[in-house]
């Protein structure tokens, strides 16, 4: 179950999206999300959809993989859609009285529900596209670069990036270990599957305690191993995969800004 986390599920490839400068890719993803929240009218939605589909096609990431990132969010999806459908006031098209309440669906509610669901879908697709085409190292490097100006106000940009790198590195290790402990405890008669929430939470204790002890041990070992290899924080550190902006990145900037402009124009001028 822990293994389904999309972060770090990088799909190696050689598409333009893969080759883009990571910090720029992060900025353009933020731009994508920002524009998405202004999109409301059908026309701009259509344009935005074309743009998103184009990005997916360019990336070469299989749609199946992309939608896998959506699955864990399905409940939030449905919940948001339902809330919107039933809670938005407006022209009633269907209603059902229950006790003293009336469950009603309005025209506006239906529109809002659909809009919200599509918006969430694109939000997840956009961010997944970033993590699927950027290796964890490039991603953390990119974040480090973007946060670098904030070092002046004491934001520990290098440390944040290093923490993320290590977290990504240890997710599979800890997932595997959780599995192992769970099996060992199940063999001893522990029951993680049945009972109410409190009972199940209690059953987690014999799982979490060994996991934490081992995690602290690992942290200790790792710190020693990093020190032994001359780790001394971010100062004077170089990177093997130093990436720079290329002509491709300039094109990406132009295309993104154009796309954003067209979508926003469609939204506010029509």
């Amino acid at each position: 179950m822990l293994k389904d986390i999309t972060i770090g599920q990088y799909i190696p490839g050689s598409s333009p999206l893969h080759k883009m400068h990571a910090p720029l890719k992060i900025i353009l993803t933020i731009l994508y999300i920002t524009v998405l929240f202004f999109v409301d009218s059908p026309v701009s939605y259509a344009i935005f959809t074309v743009y998103t589909v184009a990005l997916v096609l360019i990336s070469g990431v299989p749609l199946k993989v992309l939608l896998r990132g959506v699955k864990p969010m399905l409940w939030i999806f449905i919940f948001t859609a339902i809330l919107n459908v039933f809670m938005t006031p407006g022209e009633i098209i269907w209603s059902l009285p229950i006790f003293r309440f009336t469950l009603k669906i309005t025209n506006e509610g239906l529109a809002a529900g659909v809009t919200m669901a599509v918006r969430l879908l694109y939000l997840i697709m956009g961010t997944s596209l970033l993590t699927l085409t950027t290796s964890p190292l490039q991603l953390t490097d990119g974040i480090e670069k973007l946060l670098k100006p904030l070092r002046k106000i004491k934001v520990p940009s290098h440390e944040i990036a290093m923490m993320m790198t290590i977290a990504i590195r240890f997710i599979p290790t800890l997932a595997e270990e959780t599995d192992k402990i769970k099996k060992a405890q199940t063999a001893r008669g522990a029951d993680f599957e049945t009972g109410n929430i409190i009972k199940r939470a209690k059953a987690m204790i014999p799982l979490l305690v060994p996991l934490f002890i081992s995690a602290f041990r690992r942290a200790d070992d790792l710190a020693t191993a990093m020190e032994a290899r001359c780790y001394n924080g971010g100062d004077n550190r170089t990177r093997m995969k130093e990436s720079h902006m290329t002509a491709l990145d300039v094109k990406a900037i132009v295309i993104s800004i154009l796309a954003a402009a067209v979508v926003l124009l469609a939204e506010f001028w029509t």
Partner: protein, 286 residues
């Protein structure tokens, strides 16, 4: 290469209930010189202080008494710390706990990146070191997809990328299956013989210790035996009294000698044992 002078080390920990400081003397008056290009094995039972000693060789721990010199540099000298760590690379027991990066080649690049090496030179070193440990094929793999032996070879490459002259390995094979063990030992031997790297191998496998030029046995923080593997393993009784074993074939020869059979004391490998037995049997049978 490495020289310790009356090295002592005391762990200070706070008592669980009282909060009073408890001192545990882990190393006592260790005098040890490791020669350039040599292959030294350090033996000792659990808790005898092997890891603590190893951590003094690259300034992870600093002596509470005495001195440690690495290539003539005092480990307590703050300005030399990174020079020392670059010269004396260290590989640890648990392959999972010493990897930082999510991809093999990034892992190997970690140390030279820390040292501020030029990107192009890092790339060259990473390729070279992966080649040396025969892991080039896995440059893009995630460590979690590798076997234990492969992980340890990556860990060795990750240290070699600093261009160290000394390689210290703290029970690198303890968590590996027999196949992984033999891969790692082969790599270590090759580095010593072909690349001239000084090796300090901490182990509790006697057959690994028998491969070294020199075997040092420590017990309760003190050196109790020191010499060639042959000289050390001749003391079968003493080694057993320290809670250690001798290589299986050495033990066999020892038992045979006790029964009055005239077999050499210096049997360390299966081949040697076979030759010796053949000599005895050959004399009797024909």
């Amino acid at each position: 290469m490495i020289k310790t002078k009356n090295l002592s080390f005391v762990y200070r920990k706070t008592d669980e209930d009282g909060g009073t400081a408890v001192e545990e003397e882990v190393l006592r008056e260790i005098n040890l010189t490791i020669e350039k290009g040599s292959f030294t094995a350090i033996l000792g039972h659990n808790g005898s202080g092997k890891s603590t000693l190893a951590k003094h060789f690259n300034a992870i721990l600093l002596p509470t008494g005495g001195k440690v010199y690495v290539k003539g540099m005092d480990t307590t000298d703050k300005d030399s710390v990174f020079n020392i760590r670059q010269s004396a690379g260290m590989v640890f027991q648990n392959p999972d706990n010493q990897m930082v990066a999510a991809i093999v080649e990034d892992e190997v690049a970690f140390a030279p990146e820390n040292l501020g090496v030029e990107p192009k030179e890092i790339r060259r070193r990473v390729d070279e070191c992966l080649e040396t440990v025969n892991m080039t094929k896995y440059a893009q793999s995630a460590p979690s997809n590798l076997s234990g032996g492969q992980k340890q070879r990556v860990a060795i490459a990750a240290v070699l990328a600093m261009n160290p002259e000394i390689l210290i390995l703290d029970e690198p094979t303890a968590m590996l299956d027999p196949k992984g063990r033999s891969e790692v030992i082969k790599t270590i031997k090759m580095l010593n013989r072909e690349k001239g790297i000084t090796v300090v191998l901490i182990t509790h496998y006697m057959d690994e210790a028998a491969l070294a030029d020199r075997t040092v046995v420590i017990d309760d923080g003190e050196i109790v035996l020191d010499g060639t593997p042959k000289d050390v393993f001749r003391n079968v009784e003493k080694i057993k009294s320290l809670g250690l074993d001798v290589p299986q074939v050495t033990e066999l020869a020892y038992e045979l000698r006790k029964k009055g059979i005239d077999i050499s004391e210096d049997v360390l490998t299966v081949d040697e044992c076979f030759a010796e037995l053949l000599k005895i049997l050959g004399g009797g049978a024909t």
